[in-house]
Symmetry: C2
Subunit: 110 residues, 2 copies
Amino acid sequence: MAEQHRLAQTPEPPYYAVIFTAVRTEGENGYLKMADRMVELAQTMPGYLGIESVRDGAGAGITVSYWKSEDDIRHWKRNAEHVVAQETGKSLWYSEYTVRVAKVERAYGW
Amino acid sequence: MAEQHRLAQTPEPPYYAVIFTAVRTEGENGYLKMADRMVELAQTMPGYLGIESVRDGAGAGITVSYWKSEDDIRHWKRNAEHVVAQETGKSLWYSEYTVRVAKVERAYGW
């Protein structure tokens, strides 16, 4: 999970989730530094609610970030530094990925 | 990711996602066998569209399963074998977890 906490402490639904699932290419190529920076940067963006991210040793990763609104997600997607990371991800870091934008309707756990 | 494929091959949105994020307790305690069985069982359930699951070496895990409808998710939640797994998860395998049910509104990637 992200450095600051284990599970994201999100408010009562509804809110939005960006589910990013990806498979890495071989080689580090500056990936970890970028990934840490994107977590740090996301936290400064309007509407940010939290992030959960897990990577395994075989190159699979899931990152779910939580946002107040779809507009906040669009704003984050267009952030200049994030755009560079997205483009480098496509060309260098990921062999395949999927991004899903979803509205969280209910949540429970402990 | 799940054994069968790396990324889930889901249809065009809308569909539903169950985002399960958890932190494991110490010890194996039959967890991996259960986790594999739940993936296998989910695939036999009505409305199942796919699953993506990543666990790291530090006990953090994210599993996202995809479903045609909320009714399909409720049906899966109430499956008898799944209920036992949920209860054992609470009492034995997980120190904390969150389940979020979300409607996927758009998706892209490659």
